[in-house]
């Protein structure tokens, strides 16, 4: 339709040329990168901070347990009393004092204390605990008649390799990869709906309040106007998203090169823990497996499903946003209608985050990946884990059916609503409009 393309063009260009839109497009990545950089910088600062921990070991069992590392210096003060040691630590502004009291292998564990000015970080405490526990276990094994060689030989590392019945290998990292894929896709859709759904709603309200609407719909059909708005705004949204992604990529590279800030350091502490938990050799093994499993991901299926569910879900919700915009006179009146839209959307994200991760093919995830209002988000999160084709097709058909219904419904409300002024509509009056 010629009219439709005219409307799409206008909607697109007014959005894209809009000053605040342009500013947001270029400022958001800057702000985001700046925030992440600050967090990363601070995290780096934190982990790089040198700390000294004094150790007062009255049991004499842990003489060689605490070895200095890049960040932490251990300082044995074995001759002092607790009070003296505390005073020294305080005076020297050390990080804290680890006190281990007198006792035998069974009782010494209960005497351990850590004294410090401020409460110590969780990673420090757990690393200290680890060291003490390991040493105690070794000592107990020795007491039971094993020698050091035997103890070392008894250590074992197991990393379970997963394989599906049709021979697809996977691992923990592989699962994380799938989660990331699904999570990003679902979250992207969620954000997209909220940001651009609202934008559509506002632009419908603008047409109403500026009273141009009657002139427009004396030239085009309301449904053309509505679809033109939805498509035009979405294209503007896609443009904005694309610019954001490119800018983010460029900026993050620039920042990490120029300022030497490792942006992943924002998650530095967790990484430390993960690294502690994993032996380096198995790590390497997993990485190669991950690369292999990345190639094994159903990429084609992912992309096609992403397109269909993204478009379907977005159209479903944005037509509702357009209907709301048409029903009210100003933005403050939209509140009562927003909740029913946001609820299923938020529910979808929660279901996605809490149940899909736990069990991608469980009852809850499966059911919600069929319900049209939650299916786009939940199904997108499930698909990387391999969803049977019939499920995807059925879910998509349900989505298309509902989408057609909501567009029809929204168009009805839109058609009547855009010419209604003054009265704040209730749900009852909306139902009445459907019969006009």
């Amino acid at each position: 339709m010629n009219h439709l393309s005219l409307i799409i063009k206008r909607e697109y260009f007014t959005k894209v040329k809009n000053k605040s839109f342009v500013i947001m497009t270029f400022l958001s990545p800057l702000i985001m990168i700046a925030l992440i950089s600050v967090v990363a910088y601070l995290a780096q600062l934190n982990t790089n901070k040198k700390r000294t921990i004094s150790i007062l070991d009255q049991s004499g069992l842990f003489t060689e347990v605490f070895e200095n590392t890049d960040n932490t210096t251990y300082n044995y003060t074995n001759d002092a009393t607790v009070e003296e040691a505390k005073a020294i630590v305080k005076e020297d502004e050390q990080y804290g004092l680890l006190y281990i009291g007198k006792g035998n292998l069974d009782t010494v564990g209960e005497t351990v204390r850590f004294y410090s000015e401020d409460s110590p970080s969780l990673t420090v405490i757990s690393s200290l605990e680890n060291k003490i526990e390991r040493k105690l276990r070794d000592l107990k094994l020795v007491a039971n008649g094993l020698n050091a060689e035997e103890i070392k030989a008894a250590k074992a590392n197991v990393s379970i390799l997963q394989e599906s019945f049709d021979g697809q290998k996977s691992s923990k990292i592989d699962n994380i990869l799938k989660l990331a894929f699904g999570g990003i896709a679902g979250y992207l859709l969620f954000m997209f709906i909220i940001i651009y759904g609202n934008m559509i709603m506002r632009s419908v309200i603008e047409e109403k309040t500026s009273r141009i609407i009657e002139i427009i719909i004396s030239s085009v059909k309301p449904i053309q106007l509505m679809m033109g708005k939805i498509i035009g705004t979405s294209l503007a949204g896609v443009t904005q998203f694309a610019i954001w992604i490119v800018l983010l990529a460029i900026l993050s590279t620039v920042v990490s090169i120029v300022f030497g800030i490792d942006l992943t350091a924002a998650q530095g502490q967790q990484q430390e823990l993960i690294q502690q938990a994993m032996d380096s050799s198995t790590m390497q093994n997993e990485i190669s497996l991950a690369i292999q499993s990345f190639q094994n991901l159903p990429i084609a299926n992912l992309i096609i499903a992403f397109l269909f569910f993204f478009i379907g879900g977005y159209l479903l919700y944005s037509s509702l946003y357009a209907a709301i915009g048409a029903a009210v006179d100003n933005e403050t009146d939209t509140q009562q209608f927003m909740l029913p839209i946001l609820m299923p959307l938020i529910l979808a994200v929660y279901v996605g985050v809490f149940t899909v991760i736990e069990d991608p093919h469980g009852t809850v995830s499966t059911i919600f990946s069929f319900i049209p209002f939650t299916s786009p988000v939940v199904m997108l999160m499930r698909i990387p884990f391999g969803v049977p084709m019939w499920q995807q097709v059925v879910s998509l058909l349900l989505l298309v059916g509902t989408f057609t219904l909501t567009v029809w419904f929204a168009a009805k409300i839109y058609r009547v609503g855009i010419l209604m002024y003054g009265k704040k509509p209730s749900y009852k009056s909306l139902m009445k409009w459907l019969k006009y």
């Binding site: 009219h3 005219l6 409307i7 206008r10 007014t14 809009n18 603008e206 047409e207 500026s210 009273r211 141009i212 009657e214 002139i215 427009i216 719909i217 004396s218 030239s219 085009v220 059909k221 010419l419 002024y421 009445k432 019969k435 006009y436």
Partner: protein, 308 residues
């Protein structure tokens, strides 16, 4: 085919409310047709049906003898009462967009716009945003956009609201000129003086029903009550008044006259000719003022609405 637009028994319900009840109108080609009625009578609903914004529940509308179709949009120019433009869009861009929605090509629209902008001497507004213009200035743009595609049928809903007298006159002249060039105009308003000035035909809608329609002069004939304003000069006015009162129905008069010895509204019976009255009067006194009372559109409007 002398009617451009014919509405046949058009009805429209909004839930339990009947906004239009079997309303029929016929708008002759080349006429200026006044669509009158109190607020909430159903005028806007009828206009929206003609514009295919809403669909009638019953009845049909014919344009040039054909049932209304999507293509007819380009034959109609509509200036709604609730009007406005995109506030943050530039004047030229916006006018082009609206013209293209009406089916004009871009270059055609540009040419026409140049013509109108030159005519109204507003060429320097092209790159202004609507929000930078005053209300009256925006109304001018709105008018241009309405007539730009040279439609056969122009529908104006309260076209003069928001204009100062000079610009209102300018618009009025343009409307008359467009009619001369062959356009048919439907004109919906409350301002009876503009009806008086412009309309050849009127239809009066009241409480969803059409209560009156036809040629304005015919309607006036129908509504006149054979009453004459009479102003006389006489030395013994009391006697003269008594004599007139004995022979005719006399009502108090409010017209202005330089001589107010005798000032009366005299009603004659249908059988009596005005000449009979006049010769009676000349025999009694000096006649300075003798005018038939013609009901104004305003009177007709109020009278009809009150009677229904």
């Amino acid at each position: 085919m002398s009617e451009l637009l014919v509405a046949n028994a058009v009805s429209k319900d909004f839930g339990d409310f009947r906004a239009l009840n079997k309303v029929s109108i016929a708008v002759p080609k080349g006429s200026i047709f006044g669509l009158l009625g109190p607020n909430g009578a159903g005028k806007t609903t009828l206009i929206r049906i003609i514009n295919q914004i809403t669909m009638p529940d019953e009845g049909s509308v014919l344009l040039d003898g054909h049932p209304l179709k999507q293509e007819h949009i380009r034959d109609i120019g509509y200036l709604p009462e609730e009007r406005g433009l995109y506030k943050s869009m530039r004047v030229g861009e916006q006018a082009l967009y609206l013209a293209q929605l009406k089916g004009m090509s871009k270059s055609e629209a540009k040419n026409q716009l140049k013509y109108w902008f030159d005519k109204f001497e507003i060429s320097d507004w092209w790159n202004k945003k609507i929000q930078e213009l005053s209300k009256g200035q925006a109304q001018k743009i709105q008018f241009i956009v309405t007539v730009l595609h040279r439609p056969k049928l122009l529908i104006f809903d309260e076209p003069f609201s928001g204009f100062d007298p000079i610009n209102a006159n300018l618009i009025k002249d343009e409307i008359l000129k467009l009619r001369e060039e062959g356009a048919t105009v439907i004109f919906s308003t409350h301002r009876m003086e503009s009806v008086e000035e412009l309309c050849d035909h009127i239809a009066l809608i009241h409480k969803s029903n059409k209560v009156l329609d036809g040629n304005l002069i015919d309607i006036k004939r129908q509504f006149k009550s054979s009453t004459f304003e009479v102003g006389l000069q006489s030395n013994n006015s009391k006697v003269v008044i008594e004599e007139i009162k004995n022979k005719f129905d006399v009502l108090p008069a409010t017209f202005k006259n330089v001589y107010d010895d005798v000032k009366l509204n005299v009603k004659i019976t249908p059988e009596t000719s005005p000449n009979d009255l006049l010769s009676f009067l000349t025999s009694k006194a000096e006649v300075h003022h003798f005018v038939e009372v013609i009901p104004s559109s305003n009177d007709i409007f109020i009278q009809t609405v009150k009677n229904n």
